[in-house]
């Protein structure tokens, strides 16, 4: 049938065209198991019953207070910090000193890794009340002066702008995105608890970026320039899960993953310890492998 | 005889065309499948013209279709003996059926010009009552506001909900923000494309109060069907008060203005 075969391709094209449309390539998403859903729903609509929820509250136990300290040392080569692209308000920004990418600060002599955040995920007791003295979050020369700001929930934050240009400070996940005119400031009271540090940025000067973490208990420490950190007054006698975080870490959710078998450091960048009363546990030098820090 | 039946069958099939055709047009008005209610002053002229042409074409339609049927019935090969009549044509007939339609058509052409001129050419000399700005996919309306001039700070902005005074000449300035649209008021026998870059005047006078559809009649993109508006004709005082209310709403400076949103 040469006649019909001759037009086969056209036939295919035509029919295919007829039953086709514009649709983006999408991978198939998992769908619900209807039966299971119904049973679960029954559980939800009936009166509460049975064992506690997933995030079980840490049970109160033990007395006294301990502490945790250590020092992060970067094993790899940090390289030279990259200069930032300053394309706005150049008459002010970067005038005092040239602006560099500060997301990985390693002390040249001691190799200490700064800005590592260590905090307790759950605890039952708190020694000190929430301080009323505000923590200062200032900006000058178009960069934030506090790379990582720690505050307790309810503690006032004094957001300042010591620059001669206006900035806005946009704290991710909060209601705070306010314009701070030159030389002025405002106060923000840390509202909700943050599970992980969140970025604070300035939309006017996109290169400006710092991090904030608000915790109820305030068991947070940020490693200093030489990489050392200390969390005092931790509740003793109860298992404490510590989260270690760094802005550039490759671990999931920013968790910093170290090879520390004895601490059972897990892929989320966490380890668990139970402190004795009046014990200041020293983790010593913690080597941060180059692989743990991303670009 | 079977063969003859074939011819009869086909002839009747073709007879069904004029019969059912006329029937359809005769019945549908009773089921409201007909020209929508006309509330404009000029609409009557258009409608009567429509009916005139309908009757005219209707007659031609019935006659020609019936002739067709009749010839099929009568000159079925199985119904006639011998050869077909040998005719090359007829000069007289040709002349006749050229002249008569020609005359009719020319008459028609002249007869309708006035109606056309009324709707599209004899523009009332007045300032625009409202500016209608078509946009994908809604009708943005701009009233001149208190100072009576468009494009000033006190213009009143409304969406889709056009209000106009009844029994008055209304002049609309029609514009488009993006693509072609067409401002179609079925109940006022008004249709005018909105062309980007052009300001096109549209005028009419409503005879009755009431609410009617504004339809977009020119393909304007994927949301063409969405472009529904509503025109409300009301008495001058009601119109004024509506304007005032809208204006107050537009100047709202305090939350309570929220209340009447859901109410509308």
């Amino acid at each position: 049938m040469t006649l019909s075969t001759r037009f086969a391709p056209l036939c295919v094209l035509g029919l295919a065209a007829a039953v086709s449309g514009c649709s983006r390539p999408r991978i198939e998403a998992p769908v619900a198991d209807a039966a299971a859903a119904i049973t679960i729903r029954e559980g939800l609509t009936t009166v509460a019953a049975g064992a506690g929820g997933g995030a079980g509250e840490a049970q109160v136990s033990g007395t006294g207070w301990g502490g945790l300290k250590g020092r992060f040392v970067f094993a790899g080569d940090p390289g030279q910090p990259k200069p930032l692209v300053v394309d706005k308000d150049t008459e002010v920004c970067g005038k005092m000193s040239k602006l560099f990418d500060q997301s990985l600060r390693v002390d040249t002599s001691s190799k200490g890794l700064a800005d590592v955040v260590v905090f307790v995920r759950k605890s039952s007791r708190v020694k000190n009340p929430v301080p009323t003295t505000p923590v200062v979050f200032d900006q000058r020369n178009c960069e934030f002066l506090t790379p990582v700001l720690v505050a307790r929930v309810g503690q006032p934050i004094d957001v300042r702008n010591s620059d001669t240009v206006g900035h806005n400070t946009n704290i991710d996940g909060t209601s705070f995105n306010q314009l701070i005119p030159a030389g002025q400031g405002t106060t923000y009271t840390a509202a909700g608890e943050m599970g992980m540090p969140r970025p604070a940025t300035c939309n006017i000067h996109p290169w400006m970026k710092a991090y904030m973490i608000f915790r109820k208990d305030g068991y947070v420490a940020v490693s200093s320039a030489d990489g050392s950190f200390e969390i005092p007054d931790l509740p003793a006698g109860e298992p404490l899960e510590f989260q270690v975080w760094h802005a550039r870490s490759t671990g999931s959710g920013g968790g910093l993953v170290l090879e520390q078998p004895e601490l059972k450091w897990n892929p989320k960048g966490r380890f668990t310890l139970t402190l004795q009363a009046d014990e200041i546990k020293d983790l010593g030098v913690l080597d941060v492998p180059a692989s743990a820090i991303g670009t | 005889m079977f063969k003859r039946i074939g011819g009869i069958f086909w002839a009747l099939l073709f007879l069904a065309v004029p019969v059912l055709g006329v029937a359809t047009f005769a019945i549908s008005p009773f089921y409201d499948h007909w020209l929508p209610k006309d509330v404009s002053t000029h609409g009557a002229a258009i409608d009567s013209l429509f009916y005139f042409i309908l009757v005219l074409t209707g007659v031609v339609f019935v006659v020609t279709e019936f002739l067709l049927f009749w010839f099929m019935w009568k000159y079925d090969r199985n119904n006639q003996e011998g050869h077909a009549t040998y005719i090359q044509g007829s000069h007289t007939l040709e002349v006749v059926w050229t002249i008569i339609p020609a005359a009719t058509l020319v008459f028609l052409a002249i007869y309708q010009m006035n109606a056309w001129a009324d709707v599209k050419m004899r523009r009332p000399s007045m300032a625009p009552t409202v500016e209608v700005i078509a946009r994908q996919f809604e009708w943005r309306l701009r009233y001149p506001g208190r100072d009576g001039t468009l494009g000033t700070a006190d213009d009143l902005f409304v969406v889709n909900d056009l209000h106009l005074p009844v029994d008055e000449d209304v002049l609309i300035q029609l514009k488009s923000m993006d693509v072609l649209h067409s401002f179609f008021l079925p109940n006022l026998r008004i249709k005018q494309d909105a062309v980007p870059g052009m300001k096109i005047p549209v005028w009419f006078k409503a005879r009755e109060v009431g609410q009617f559809d504004i339809v977009c009649a020119e393909l304007c993109g994927w949301g063409h069907y969405k472009m529904k508006g509503r025109v409300t004709f009301e008495s001058r005082p009601e119109f004024e008060s509506w304007l005032e209310r809208k204006y107050a709403e537009q100047q709202a400076t305090q939350p309570p203005a929220e209340a009447d949103v859901a109410a509308e």
């Binding site: 049938m1 040469t2 001759r6 037009f7 056209l10 007829a18 514009c22 | 063969k3 011819g7 073709f14 059912l20 047009f25 549908s28 499948h33 007909w34 258009i46 429509f50 042409i53 074409t57 339609f61 099929m72 000159y75 077909a84 009549t85 040998y86 005719i87 090359q88 044509g89 040709e94 339609p101 020609a102 058509l105 020319v106 028609l108 052409a109 010009m113 709707v119 599209k120 993006d178 693509v179 072609l180 067409s182 179609f184 026998r189 249709k191 005018q192 494309d193 062309v195 980007p196 870059g197 052009m198 009617f212 559809d213 009649a217 020119e218 993109g221 994927w222 063409h224 069907y225 529904k228």
Partner: protein, 608 residues
């Protein structure tokens, strides 16, 4: 009933370039390619056109069904297509709907009707009916077909690009079509659409040049212009129309392309922002496109009907066994249509914002163009009068063409009357009008042509019984679908709306639309019968002789199917094409080639 067939001549069996017979047997691939694929034989090219266009006819029909589905049951789960929108619960998206009707129109007009008339029938019939052995420019002829393929590919592929195929309506009015951001398919789809259009244009242009030359220069001895069958006259005038109108469209197409791709601003005004995207330099005028587009597309309307009129005239005479009533008036009216066809384009733009005074001018010219059409109709009726009508399938389709063309023609007068047009412009009234002209008219004419010339194309006749079933159902369903559209139009129901029922004015029209959709489904389903009949008869139908219908025109003296070079002897023409039932002549028709002595004898007989 099938008319008696004359004895099968050997020429039938051994016709070499017979499109279907024995081709694959000998010669291998190169032979196959040269004979069937890249053939320069006008018959093969004609059939290539026929098959391609019929397949696109199917595509267009399916598109139409999808459109009708949405119109009748908006946002409901679409059968088959629904799978594309599984995420949206099977309901088609509005831009998909706009794409559907745009491509339905584009495919039907540019890939079906125009090429099937000029391309398929023109190619196949012109040389045969004027007694030539082939076209004047065979290579050009071959190119005219192969230039359709880029068009096929552009149109076909555009369904698969991001945003889908063109969805600016088949008229693709700016700025919807010029600003890529204005609608999803306005990006790649529209560009492909324009390219496809250009290729169709090139193809038509090559064809028309060829037809004009062939008809003027290659007529057989004795074949004067006024001995040409109406079919040829139709083709001839069509060719002229195309040759003069097409360049304008092509130019306009390129202008739109450059608006889209080079950022010129022929059609978009200053600072025209759509979907937050500025397109082009601006300073243009959207109406310019409409003028250019309709300057071609109105004559195109006649390009889409004149050949069909010609074919119908011939078929009517054959099966009425009677000379065509008023041959010359028929010719003059075709010419008149062609002439006036160039000065009526403005009647598409009465509502466009064009100066209303101009509207009056176009209204008058438009009224005038109704005249020749009327004359033709009356002449067809005259032809039937006193005839001896055989109700073959071909004849039935031809008759329905007349019947339906009356409706299509008369409904046109409503649109021509500018004040009435204010109300029915862009409503279903116009949709009804052009479907009566193009489907109920041209398509029926095409079917008539296929049933009539099928024996000449394949040497076999199509099955009459199924042919009549096909005709009957098509006739019923098409009226069910299209006649009701007039009523919708009278209500003001706008075309191209994905869902009009949320308007108070129209929400009661859904049942009627549902009825129309069922009819449409029936109509498309009916074509399956045709397809089946076609394929079957092509290979296993009863063999036809040279002149199965006892017709007069030249193609019927050639073998069926004609071999390479068409005629096994040089035909000499002695008379016009419509010498049926000549008084005193034994057989009821005198072929154009029959020697005159018979006629003389006839005259003598008449004298007694």
């Amino acid at each position: 009933m099938t008319p008696p067939t004359t004895a099968v001549t050997p020429a039938v069996d051994h016709g070499h370039a017979a499109p279907h017979a024995h081709g694959h047997a000998q010669g291998g691939l190169s032979h196959f390619l040269s004979t069937y694929v890249f053939s320069k034989d006008h018959k093969v090219i004609g059939l290539q056109f026929l098959f391609s266009t019929l397949l696109w006819f199917l595509v267009g029909g399916l598109l139409a069904l999808a459109v009708r589905w949405q119109v009748a049951w908006p946002w409901s789960d679409v059968p088959v297509l629904g799978k594309l929108f599984a995420q949206e619960g099977g309901q088609m998206s509005p831009e998909f709907y706009t794409m559907l009707f745009t491509m339905h129109a584009s495919v039907m007009i540019f890939l079906v009707i125009i090429p099937i008339l000029a391309g398929a029938f023109g190619n196949f019939l012109i040389p045969l009916m004027i007694g030539a052995d082939d076209m004047a420019f065979p290579t050009l002829n071959m190119l005219s077909y192969w230039f359709m393929w880029p068009a096929f590919i552009c149109f076909g592929a555009s369904f698969f690009v991001e945003g889908g195929a063109a969805s600016g309506g088949w008229t693709s009015y700016p700025t919807l079509s010029t600003n890529p951001a204005s609608s999803p398919a306005s990006s790649m789809g529209q560009t492909l659409w324009l390219l496809g259009l250009t290729f169709v244009g090139v193809s038509s242009m090559l064809g028309s040049v060829n037809y004009m030359t062939t008809i003027i220069l290659m007529r057989a001895p004795g074949m004067t212009m006024f001995r040409l069958p109406m079919t040829i006259w139709g083709m001839f005038i069509t060719a002229i129309l195309q040759a003069f109108a097409l360049p304008v469209l092509t130019a306009a197409g390129f202008m739109q392309l450059s608006d889209r791709m080079l950022g010129t601003g022929f059609f978009s005004p200053e600072g025209n922002v759509i979907n937050n995207a500025i397109a082009g330099a601006g300073g243009g005028q959207p109406l310019l496109w409409q003028h250019l587009f309709w300057f071609y597309s109105h004559p195109a309307v006649y390009i889409m009907i004149l050949p069909a009129m010609g074919m119908v005239s011939d078929i009517l005479t054959v099966f009425a066994r009677k000379p065509l009533f008023g041959y010359r008036p028929m010719v003059y009216s075709i010419a008149g249509i062609a002439g006036l066809g160039f000065i009526v384009w403005g009647h598409h733009m009465f509502m466009s914002g064009m100066n209303p005074a101009l509207g009056i001018t176009f209204m008058v010219s438009t009224m005038m163009i109704a005249l020749p059409s009327a004359v033709k109709t009356f002449n067809w009726l005259g032809t039937l009068w006193g005839g001896r009508i055989q109700f073959t399938t071909a004849m039935l389709f031809a008759l329905s063409f007349v019947s339906m063309f009356i409706i299509g023609g008369l409904s046109g007068i409503f649109m021509a009357a500018t004040p009435v047009d204010i109300f029915i412009h862009d409503t279903y009234f116009i949709v009804a009008h052009f479907h009566y002209v193009l489907f109920a008219g041209t398509a029926m004419g095409v079917f008539a042509g296929i049933y009539f010339w099928f024996p000449k194309m394949f040497g076999r006749t199509m099955n009459e019984f199924w042919g009549k079933v096909h005709f009957f159902l098509t006739f019923i369903f098409l009226n069910g679908t299209f006649f009701t559209m007039h009523i919708l139009g009278a209500v003001g129901f706008p075309r191209r709306l994905a869902d009009a029922y949320h308007y108070e004015t129209f929400h009661h029209l859904q049942p009627m639309n549902a009825f129309m959709t069922w009819c449409a489904i029936g109509m498309v389903a009916t074509q399956v019968i045709f397809a089946a009949n076609f394929i079957y008869s092509m290979f296993w139908g009863p063999r036809a002789g040279r002149n199965p219908w006892n017709a007069n025109t030249l193609e019927w003296i050639a073998p069926s199917p004609p071999g390479h070079g068409n005629f096994d002897f040089q035909p000499v023409v002695h008379r016009g094409p419509y010498e049926y039932s000549v008084p005193g002549v034994e057989k009821d028709h005198l072929m154009q080639t029959d020697p005159p002595n018979q006629a003389a004898a006839a005259a003598a007989a008449a004298a007694h």
